[in-house]
């Protein structure tokens, strides 16, 4: 579909601007599907109308009609053709869905936490924020989403993405915004009293402005988003004095992780954290896997499941005891202890 007609369709259908490549792909499918839908409904309605006019009864006397029966095979053939069309949509939709979930290489990871009734954002190097999610434009971003209390849903209409935030679990979402701008974010899963006001703003900054934001400046776009009356609840969080990795260090001490895990490379009761991230682990089962963020969080929640060979099975679970943000912080801390830390990711 040529871009101009796509914009026209977007206006006709009241779709908001599409701020990413994926959103435009989804819109293209949307146009096909919705056009076919409207044509189908119209065709059936019109056919019925034509029959109605053509075969309407004159006078009140009913007249007998011919017995007309279409063999079932024709109906099934028709159904088969239609199913082919539906499956084509499904095929395209499925691929797009997978693309939405696949994180591109080098994506900026940001932790999103929904709680009644606000969105909190934390990334490895930027400040934590509430209600305003700041990302660089033209760079892949991966959101790791969870909730503190009940199910929420992180919804950005301009990106055509939505992902439930489920307590006790991380879900993820990836996108690359084309150009700078600010876009509304809603909570789409009913979550109680102020569900209708659980809004936030997604601000995409040009790379250099994003860099300044990391360094502490508040670019006007972010300030505006925070003060936008239409997007209430959008405000900048207290600027954290420490980075997320530093917070992870504090939390690791608080939860007693450091009683068993060292950070200097010496094995203790548990494996050391130095160089742990990204290294290959050998489990008691003989299975080998790489200690990524998934493995680390899994180990905190279900330590008995993927035991590493050579250590006693003594680690307690932290399921339900640690806040998701703290889990994320500790993972970031362990990440900062990898051997190649400091080099480009």
């Amino acid at each position: 579909m040529i871009p101009a007609s796509a914009d026209l369709m977007r206006d006709v259908l009241f779709l908001p601007e599409a701020a990413s490549r994926q959103a435009r792909d989804i819109d293209a499918l949307h146009f096909w599907v919705i056009s076919a839908t409207m044509l189908g409904a119209l065709a059936v309605g019109l056919t019925a109308l034509v029959f109605l006019v053509k075969y309407r009864r004159m006078g009140d006397r009913p007249r007998p009609t011919r017995f007309i029966a279409l063999p079932v095979k024709y109906e099934l053939a028709m159904a088969g053709l239609l199913l082919g069309l539906f499956l084509a949509w499904w095929f395209v939709g499925y691929r797009q869905m997978i693309a939405l979930q696949r994180a591109p290489e080098g994506a900026l990871e940001i932790y999103v936490t929904g709680k009644q009734w606000m969105w909190k954002f934390a990334s490895a190097d930027g400040p934590d924020t509430v209600g305003v999610l700041v990302v660089p434009a033209a760079r892949p971003v991966r959101l790791l989403i969870t909730a503190r209390d009940v199910v929420h849903s992180f919804f950005v209409p301009a990106l055509r993405v939505k992902q439930d935030a489920i307590p006790g679990r991380y879900t993820s979402l990836s996108f690359t915004i084309d150009r700078p701008g600010s876009f509304p974010v809603y909570c789409a899963e009913y979550c109680g009293l102020s569900h209708s006001r659980m809004w936030a703003t997604l601000v995409a900054l040009p790379p250099e402005e994003y860099q300044r934001w990391l360094e502490g400046a508040v670019p006007p776009a972010v300030g505006e988003a925070g003060g936008n009356a239409d997007i209430a609840g959008g405000r900048l969080g207290e600027r954290e004095a420490i980075s997320i990795a530093q917070r992870g260090e504090q939390q690791a001490a608080r939860y007693g992780c450091l009683a068993c895990h060292t950070v200097d490379g010496q094995p203790h009761i548990g494996p050391t954290w130095r160089g742990l991230f990204g290294s290959e682990r050998v489990l008691v089962t003989g299975q080998r896997l790489v200690a990524d963020a998934a493995y680390l969080t899994q180990s905190m929640m279900r330590p008995m499941e993927d035991l590493v060979a050579g250590y006693p099975p003594v680690m307690p679970t932290y399921q339900g005891q640690m806040e998701p943000a703290d889990v994320a912080a500790i993972v970031e801390y362990i990440k900062s202890l990898r051997h190649d830390a400091g080099r480009a990711p």
Partner: protein, 210 residues
């Protein structure tokens, strides 16, 4: 007594309808348990060690005794039905009454077991001493499901036993048709069938015995 309801053309048809409806209802009853079995499958997948430990903690012997009791009760009710069909109400009464007694025995054993669990501090929702003293995470889920599933099953046993008790009484008075007893027997067999699955899930599959 041999009269059929006015809207049926014959007694035979009425009985066919009743038995058929019973089967439909049994399918429905079976699905009442589906949610609990499904939760068991999911949570066992999430917490394999805790579930194995929980199963190991249950009293396999008591569970097995109860299984034998229920299966015997199924045999006696099936035989009682056959006796009634063959016009031997006295023998039928004895067999159905035995079934009711066995159901009572099942409930006594089950309640004893519940008593032991309460003593050990194993209550639904992860309440009680057992969990405070450092059970594996996930054992609370196991025992909550244990209480819910066996509790729901025990309610079914009670209902089934009650129905069979009334039927035994009516056999003795000579006012029960075999077709009516068959409905009660079908329900009872379903109760038995559900337990046949409950038993390995909650008593046997605890891994190697310690």
């Amino acid at each position: 007594m041999a009269e059929h309801a006015a809207h049926f053309e014959s007694l035979a048809r009425q009985q066919t309808a009743a038995r058929f409806a019973m089967w439909v209802f049994l399918a429905s009853e079976l699905l009442l348990f589906a949610g609990l079995f499904f939760l068991y499958m999911c949570y066992r997948l999430y917490w394999p060690a805790a579930f194995a430990s929980g199963v190991g903690h249950n009293h396999a012997l008591l569970g097995t005794v109860n299984t034998i009791v229920l299966i015997t009760a199924s045999i006696t009710v099936a035989m009682g039905l056959r006796k009634l069909q063959h016009g031997a109400p006295r023998a039928a009464f004895r067999l159905v009454a035995t079934t009711v007694l066995l159901a009572g025995l099942f409930l006594v054993v089950k309640l004893t077991e519940y008593g032991v669990h309460i003593d050990e501090g194993i209550l639904p929702g992860g309440r009680g001493r057992y969990f405070a003293e450092g059970a594996l995470p996930g054992e609370a889920a196991f025992f909550t499901l244990y209480w819910l599933t066996t509790g729901l099953h025990a309610i079914h046993v009670t209902v089934g036993a009650g129905v069979l008790l009334v039927m035994a009484w009516r056999i003795r008075r000579g006012t029960l048709r075999a077709a009516q007893l068959e409905l009660g027997a079908l329900y009872w067999h379903l109760v038995d069938a559900i337990w046949i699955f409950l038993w390995p899930l909650y008593y046997l599959t605890g891994g190697a015995p310690k």
